[in-house]
């Protein structure tokens, strides 16, 4: 079974920090007045494909636990994962920009310019392959990449050592992975578990799909029709999150061949990149793997007739002949994906050790190694029973 019951998750959610996207997602779902049946019936079959899922899928190899998600959140926000102790995952995957960085392409260790734009990690629980070119099979496999790479430039084996020196992490790992503790694999599992809990909040579009006719404007409704028909966007941007998780060449003119470098000799994979989610799209400019399109209007103009024709171009990309009014309707529709995702509170991170062992000995030689509990290692200075 790949899908975990919502209940499991909801139980764990309380322990996560408030204002956390996943909490809002689950709580809202739990109290939501609508159901899948209510929207799928009544001749509105075309709407059924857009209904939000009711649970987050977690893989069998790494099932959800609150402890893993809590630990993963701390790791995600902790710059000590990087070589400089200055860059965290959240530096680039910034919740304030819907988990991107607002830049055409990111900057890593010592301001090294990265080759591609930072993608959002929203709704990645539903993904198939990760990265723009799908070169990593899972979130677990992806998680250690940036730590060792240009993004964070940490000697990966040093990460385990560095985290082990932080008492709070020793405790958190022991609770999340009893009997296993701090390993690279467990760092990856915790990060991936946290990432899967990052789910878009309810957007006006969801309220409309659920039956609230006034949730979106008439222009946006016309835009939705264009999206599915004349503009053909839904050929690739399908499902509640607006992605088929697939790879397509949409005719951006740069030299990056994307998935073509990973899977060779497939014509249609030259210049092909992963279809991004459309959730919180206005929050995530500039657009595309190279950040080359600054606004949604530029994106629409690109699809209308601005694309590069070549053999690898997707068969779903054709001149659209949209009028200016139609372009405006399409834009109005895209903006209905702006959800009321709650503010994300940065977690309190485990403190560095205050009392290194050697110094401790000097401080209270009488202790002579006794009472070496985790509590005493940090609290010796103010707890009598440790001295």
């Amino acid at each position: 079974m790949r899908k975990n019951a919502l209940n499991t998750l909801r139980g764990g959610a309380a322990a996560l920090y408030g204002g956390f996207a996943a909490v809002a997602f689950m709580v809202t779902l739990g109290t939501s007045p609508w159901t899948t049946e209510a929207t799928a019936g009544g001749g509105d079959d075309w709407k059924a494909a857009w209904v939000r899922p009711t649970s987050v899928p977690f893989p069998e190899e790494n099932p959800y636990t609150t402890e893993k998600a809590t630990l993963g959140q701390k790791l995600f926000f902790d710059p000590r994962l990087s070589g400089s102790d200055y860059i965290s995952c959240a530096t680039c995957h910034n919740p304030g920009f819907a988990w991107g960085d607002g830049l055409p392409t990111g900057y890593g260790h010592k301001m090294a310019k990265l080759g591609r734009r930072t993608p959002t990690i929203l709704n990645s629980a539903w993904g198939e392959l990760t990265m723009w070119d799908g070169r990593k099979d899972s979130l677990e496999e992806q998680a250690l990449g940036p730590i060792g790479g240009k993004a964070m430039k940490q000697d990966v084996s040093a990460v385990v050592e560095e985290l082990t020196a932080i008492p709070g992490y020793r405790t958190l790992f022991n609770v999340a992975f009893p009997g296993e503790g701090i390993t690279l694999e467990n760092i990856a599992k915790a990060l991936a578990t946290y990432e899967r809990t990052i789910v878009s909040g309810i957007a006006p579009f969801d309220r409309w799909i659920a039956g609230d006719q006034r949730a979106i404007s008439a222009a946006a409704k016309r835009g939705f029709d264009l999206f599915n028909n004349k503009a053909n966007c839904a050929a690739c941007h399908t499902g509640w999150s607006g992605t088929d998780s697939g790879f397509h060449d949409i005719g951006l003119p740069d030299d990056d061949i994307g998935r073509g470098k990973i899977v060779k000799n497939v014509v249609k994979l030259q210049h092909a990149f992963k279809t991004p989610t459309l959730r919180s799209i206005a929050q995530r400019a500039p657009y595309m793997h190279d950040g080359s399109l600054g606004t949604l209007k530029e994106v629409i103009d690109h699809y209308n007739d601005g694309f590069t024709r070549r053999e690898s171009l997707s068969d779903e990309i054709k001149p659209l002949n949209l009028s200016e009014d139609e372009k405006a309707d399409l834009l109005a529709f895209l903006l209905t994906f702006e959800g009321d995702d709650p503010a994300v509170v940065s977690p309190v991170l485990p403190a560095n050790e205050q009392v290194p062992g050697a110094w401790l000995q000097r401080l209270s030689p009488a202790a002579g190694g006794k009472a070496e509990t985790a509590e005493c290692r940090t609290a010796r200075l103010h707890l009598d029973h440790c001295n």
């Binding site: 198939e128 392959l129 799908g134 050929a235 399908t238 088929d244 998780s245 697939g246 790879f247 397509h248 899977v263 000799n265 497939v266 014509v267 249609k268 994979l269 092909a272 997707s314 068969d315 779903e316």
Partner: protein, 104 residues
């Protein structure tokens, strides 16, 4: 005349045979109709694109790699498996579409 008739019958018999040894896989709604298929060496799969988007079946399994190329809606493609082994197929465009083929 007689010779012609016999040869037509032969061709028909052959065609019927080929169809019998063939598994048909459809792709409507960006889903393969099968998840696992077992075949004998020389057996084939007929992929029907009854969907409304282009698909592209391929495999990167070592020793069995192939790419059938872009398959537009309405097109049919037959792929024959000439070697024993386990072959993983995906749609190159829609990686959620996958099949495991065991060739015996």
């Amino acid at each position: 005349m007689k010779v012609l008739l016999v040869s037509i019958m032969l061709v028909l018999a052959f065609a019927a045979n080929a169809i019998a040894a063939q598994t048909v896989v459809t792709q409507k709604g960006r889903k393969f109709s099968e998840k696992k298929i077992e075949l004998n060496v020389g057996g084939s799969i007929k992929f029907v694109n009854d969907d409304d988007v282009t698909h592209n079946i391929h495999s990167t399994t070592k020793g069995h790699a192939f790419d059938v190329g872009a398959q537009k809606p309405g097109q049919t493609i037959v792929h024959t498996f000439g070697k024993a082994g386990k072959v993983k197929l995906r749609c190159a465009i829609h990686p959620k579409m996958k099949i495991k083929v065991t060739v015996k």
